[in-house]
Amino acid sequence: MSAATDHIIVQSSRASRAASIVALLLLAILVAAPWWAGRADLRLFGEIYLYVALACLWNFLAGYAGLVSVGQQAFVGFGGYCLFGMAMFLGIHPMATIPFIFVLGALISVPVAVLIFRLRGAYFAIGTWVIAEVFRLTAAQISALGGGSGTSIPVDIIRSIAASRSGREHAAYWAALAVAILVIACVYLFLRSRQGLALQAIRDNETAAQAMGIDIWRTKFFVYVVTAGLTSAVGALIFLQKLRISPDAAFSVNDWTAFVIFIVVIGGIGTIEGPIVGTIVFFLLRETLADLGSAYLLILGVVAIVVMLRAPSGLWGFVKSRTGLELFPTTRRVVPKHKD
């Protein structure tokens, strides 16, 4: 067949290669932020990175695996509580707990997935919420970690991260940046892999994917478990930044799920760029409208509904449909061999 020899399948494009160079430059600038940004800016950037990570992970679940969860706060809180527990009772260095928390989060999500994968669609969504409530109520029963009122990290553990205050802030900043990049890289590399192709096939047509021999349950299960592990690791860093944890803050549906969903919907669901764009928009809105208090959330809800009804593919989806631009190329295109 001539088509097979004359054409090749490519994923990257000139734009994506240019973007990767710009991204590396930007990354170098961001890594150096402790030397050029103020203390408040560093904190804000750290928070942005952690939201980028959460948004990418939720998008990976909902936008690619079709698992719409409103209970990811279960893993955020779980990660936070694990960090506090391991640092306070096992004496592990807070930064060193992160890999363990990834593993623990993935492990605990296995029985959770087996149970709630029995629910479909929207009922799956509420099922994840019930799980998050179970986690929250259980955390409130752990009296060693302050029960319902929560606890703070003891000062000597905080000191063990770095001797000076600025040293600790820099460490928290770099950890947040590292985890955001790790999450984006994991999602990107997974989507470019064979498994990622299977996942996108399931998203586009479940029946057809099944007919091609893809094990739908196992693919979704894998995505759910990995996402849970990474979300737990992000959660641990969130509460390492806050230095205080309580069940209501750790398992807050507004902070860790509602905002994240709005970010992904506004930015563009089902794209890697969308959650990043969405997070930037979200923080711009927050920094300008935060004084409005609860009216700000109201506006956010209205914007999300309007985007969902009028432009369901979000901001990035709009850019992509106009220009075909993909900064993180995951689409496979067939092109003639001699050209790119």
């Binding site: 719409v68 929207a122 509420i126 709005f262 959330l297 109201l298």
Partner: protein, 288 residues
């Protein structure tokens, strides 16, 4: 005797949960829509009841005459203007739009009524009880709530299986396109289903508001209780939903009897056990 009492009060509490669940079950049965803002609409109805009772000086149960039609109308308009646009093969739009509505209602109520807990006062009805002998007492209000749940489920059951509107509901539920070909306007039918669901929500909201104090943030928990009752009872089965509500109420009260901190946890665990053992619920009728 404490245990018998816990079970009895749990059964009566189950009536309230069945009220939370009936509207949810109804719209899922007709259009496969899960309304994430369901609990927040219950709280909205409670606040409407508060406005009506305080401005007109009415008894909360009399306020139903105003709150129920208002919520039903709101439901119809909401369905025709917004929710119908989200229905389709993709589950994401209805989920996200109702999730957005939930956030809007919560924060809208917070802006207007602040976070202070409120309560509807129903005078003597709040504390009246009937002695059942052996030291057991059943509150008049919980009995009334339970009776209302039974009556509403019987009424919905009658509409579904004995009226032309119910036939239309079942037709669009089975196959939207063919129902449309047979001359049914599915947008209108969906609007009526949402109106009916919201009427039930209004009743649930008033009973909730008389029973306990409420504030703008308590909606999501009501959604979860209603959802658990639906899943325990089995999708699409209204009488099953009542039994699901009772199982949830009894589990919570038994949990609270063992340790006050375990009340909600016990309810969730009962739900998870049913999900593990009978994933389609105890008395399933339709497929999810």
């Amino acid at each position: 005797m404490d245990w018998v009492n816990a079970v009895l009060q749990g059964v009566l509490l189950g009536g309230l949960y069945a009220l939370f669940a009936a509207g949810l079950s109804l719209i899922f049965g007709v259009m496969r829509l899960v309304n994430i803002a369901h609990g927040d609409f219950i709280v909205l109805a409670a606040f409407l009841g508060l406005v009506v009772t305080t401005t007109l000086g009415m008894h909360p149960l009399a306020a139903l005459a105003i709150v129920v039609p208002f919520m039903a109308l709101l439901g119809y308009v909401l369905q025709r203007c917004i929710l119908n646009q989200t229905l389709g093969n993709d589950i994401l739009p209805p989920l996200l739009v109702t999730f957005g509505l939930s956030v809007i209602i919560q924060n809208g109520l917070l802006e207007i009524f602040t976070a202070n807990p409120q309560k509807l006062s129903a005078g003597a009805l709040e504390t009246a009880s009937i002695p059942l002998g052996g030291g057991l007492n059943a509150g008049v209000l919980p009995i009334l709530t339970f009776a209302a749940a039974v009556a509403i489920i019987a009424f919905l059951q009658w509409i579904f299986y004995r009226t032309s509107l119910g036939r239309a509901f079942r037709a669009v539920s089975d196959n939207q396109d063919i129902a449309q070909l047979m001359g049914l306007n599915k947008s209108h039918i969906f609007g009526l289903a949402m109106a009916l669901s919201m009427a039930v929500i209004a009743i649930a909201g008033i009973f909730l508001a008389v029973r306990t104090s409420f504030d703008p943030s308590v909606g999501p928990a009501r959604l979860i209780f209603g959802f658990e009752a639906v899943i325990i009872g089995g999708l699409g089965n209204l009488w099953g939903t009542l039994i699901g509500g009772i199982i949830l109420g009894v589990s919570q009260n038994i949990g609270a009897q063992i340790n006050p901190g375990w009340q909600l946890l016990a309810g969730h665990i009962a739900f998870l056990i049913v999900l593990a053992v009978r994933p389609r619920g105890l008395f399933p009728r339709v497929d999810g």
